[in-house]
């Protein structure tokens, strides 16, 4: 099935497909890099909450007829900064606070999507905001998406070493005179950028899959940090483009009705995660056996 895609000329010249491939690639790359940092900082739940909450911004944008990417981004950035501030004030039980914010954000989304459905001009806003709709992304979003992706990648590159050091142990970073707050705040902003791109492609609810999945798989296998970034980028990009190709194909499986792209992307990421777990376990077992053999000898 997948093999037939490149031979199908419609795929490459189709405008919505090209937009989906471009925005999807940007989202996958940024999510791979920012996702690795997020998983290393053990902030997967915060990332998930941020993505869910960004849906309120996305649905507000649909209601007001604004660029949805900026809607997702505005909401995610505002909440990221608030959560970082709470962290700075050493608010106890961070996970509880995150959970409460997540709930409130989704409640707001419910209200805005209700307005969208009853008086908005865009049909299907709820599906698009929550679960994505890559073939309906307007082409006008491409330059904005690329700018957001570029900014996120540059910021991530700047804090590359300080973030690794802070993830190792914040006190070790402080002992080197590093301003850990500035690093975590910058990371929070890149997280907001990544989450808004992911929400634009696979939807706010599924954004975690793109953010956390490839990074988690890569971090299990990689031996060094840069390897993890490359691996996560390959998994994310492979899943995103593969998902787009499969969704395009699916128009021929059930004539006239294609399956959602998000479904395929998320499934491919899930498969990649299972494979990486299997590979990591196998490698661990092999290393254990080698060690045992050495000691026995």
């Amino acid at each position: 099935m997948l093999m037939s895609v490149p031979s199908n000329p419609g795929f490459w010249v189709n405008e919505p497909v090209r937009v989906a491939l471009t925005v999807g690639a940007g989202a996958a790359l940024v999510c791979a890099v920012v996702g690795c940092a997020t998983v290393m900082r053990r902030q997967a739940f915060a990332g998930h909450a941020l993505a869910d909450v960004s849906s309120a911004g996305g649905s507000a944008a649909y209601l007001l007829g604004l660029n949805p990417l900026l809607g997702f981004l505005g909401m995610a950035a505002a909440v990221a900064v608030v959560m970082e501030w709470a962290d700075m004030r050493e608010v106890r039980e961070r996970d509880l606070l995150t959970g409460v914010v997540l709930g409130a954000g989704l409640g707001l989304t419910a209200l805005l999507l209700y307005f969208d459905a009853t008086m908005g001009s865009v049909s299907g806003a709820a599906m698009t905001v929550l679960f994505g709709s890559m073939f309906t992304i307007p082409a006008t979003i491409v330059p904005v998406a690329l700018a957001v992706a570029g900014a996120a990648l540059v910021a991530s590159a700047i804090i590359y070493r300080p973030l690794l050091l802070s993830a190792l142990a914040a006190d070790l970073a402080r002992a080197q005179g590093l301003r850990v707050r500035a690093v975590t705040l910058t990371h929070a902003v890149t997280l907001a950028l990544a989450v808004s791109l992911a929400a634009m492609t696979v939807g706010a609810i599924l954004a975690t899959a793109l953010l956390i999945g490839p990074a988690a798989a890569a971090l299990r296998l990689a031996r060094r940090p840069f390897e993890a970034l490359v691996l996560a980028a390959l998994i994310g990009l492979g899943a995103t483009w593969g998902g787009i190709a499969l969704a395009y194909e699916s128009f021929y499986w059930t004539p006239g009705r294609g399956w959602p792209v998000s479904f395929f992307i998320v499934i491919l990421i899930f498969v990649a995660y299972l494979l990486s777990s299997w590979a990591a376990t196998r490698r661990g077992a092999r290393r254990g056996a080698a060690l045992y053999g050495c000691e026995g000898a």
Binding site: V39, M40, R42, A157, I158, I159, Y160, R161, P162, L164, L165, A167, L168, A169, D171, L172, A173, R174, A175, Q176, G177, L178, L219, A222, R223, R224, P225, F226, E227, A228
Partner: protein
């Protein structure tokens, strides 16, 4: 009392936390390359003192000065207490040492022959070559300790602060790490301040001891400080410094006879002041 060349000067340092005095007028000085034990029982204020030297904890009064008059930054290496390295991080021992060298700089590190050599040399110095390419979170406690020492020393700090580096080590590793730290402090000209609740493994190596009890300190050579009169005055009640089977044990007076008998029965038994 201020020598210009001192690696560390602590002058009447007082710290209060949560309304309680934790450090009371602590004063001592370390010369460059000196190997000093910071000894005290649980809760005596060792970690607080080290964190105050790093500038993580503010002094309520008094002063702490480093060699060049600055605080923290590039001149101090630090190995925190109870540090648990996450096995999920894709960092090799080698990467952790490299982060000690330039982890606070912005941007990714460019490949550099000189940097790689510095890291390699440091791994060799602490005897970590055998596991240099393994994931650091999967190493044993003693191996991680060596990697963290390398991380702290690779910048060639003038002062190295180690918080309970001997906890969780077996007898042989303890002796090895103490010998290693002592040798490195000489080679690198770094003053070492090392906290421990048991002074015995350090006695052969220490140039100087800072003994903390309930936030107050006495400092000096071990044979001057670890004496019944000196420590009794520090504690504010009578304690005995007891030597049995080559070990020094500090015990509150009423318990000392019992302890002496117990240690005589079972030489590995240790005791501390309540």
């Amino acid at each position: 009392m201020s020598t210009v060349a001192a690696a560390l000067t602590v002058e009447r340092a007082c710290v209060e936390l949560g309304g309680r005095p934790i450090l009371r007028e602590v004063s001592f000085q370390l010369a460059p390359g000196e190997f000093c034990g910071l000894i005290g029982s649980n809760g005596s204020g060792k970690t607080t003192l080290l964190r105050a030297i790093l500038g993580f904890v503010r002094l309520d009064s008094g002063q702490i000065r480093l060699a060049d008059g600055t605080t923290a930054g590039r001149l101090v290496g630090y190995v925190p207490q109870k540090i648990a390295l996450d096995p999920g991080l894709p960092l090799r021992a080698r990467d952790v040492v490299a982060l000690g060298l330039d982890g606070a700089r912005l941007g990714p590190a460019l490949p550099s022959r000189r940097r790689a050599e510095q890291v390699e040399q440091m791994l060799h110095a602490v005897g970590a070559e055998a596991f240099a390419d393994q994931r650091v979170g999967l190493l044993s406690g003693g191996q991680q300790q060596r990697v963290l020492v390398a991380h702290a020393l690779v910048r060639r700090p003038r002062l190295l602060l180690l918080d309970e580096p001997l906890a969780n080590l077996d007898v042989r590793s303890t002796a090895e790490i103490v010998a290693l730290l002592r040798r490195l402090s000489r080679e690198y000209g770094a003053a070492v301040l090392l906290s421990a609740h048991d002074m015995n493994p350090l006695l052969p190596a220490m140039d100087r001891i800072v003994y903390l009890a309930h936030g107050s300190a006495v400092a000096g050579k071990a044979e001057e400080v670890v004496r019944t009169e000196v420590l009794s005055e520090l504690y504010g009640y009578h304690v005995d410094v007891v030597r049995v089977h080559g070990r020094v044990v500090v015990v509150a007076a009423e318990a000392s006879d019992q302890i002496r008998a117990a240690v005589a029965r079972d030489p590995v038994h240790t005791a501390s002041v309540p």
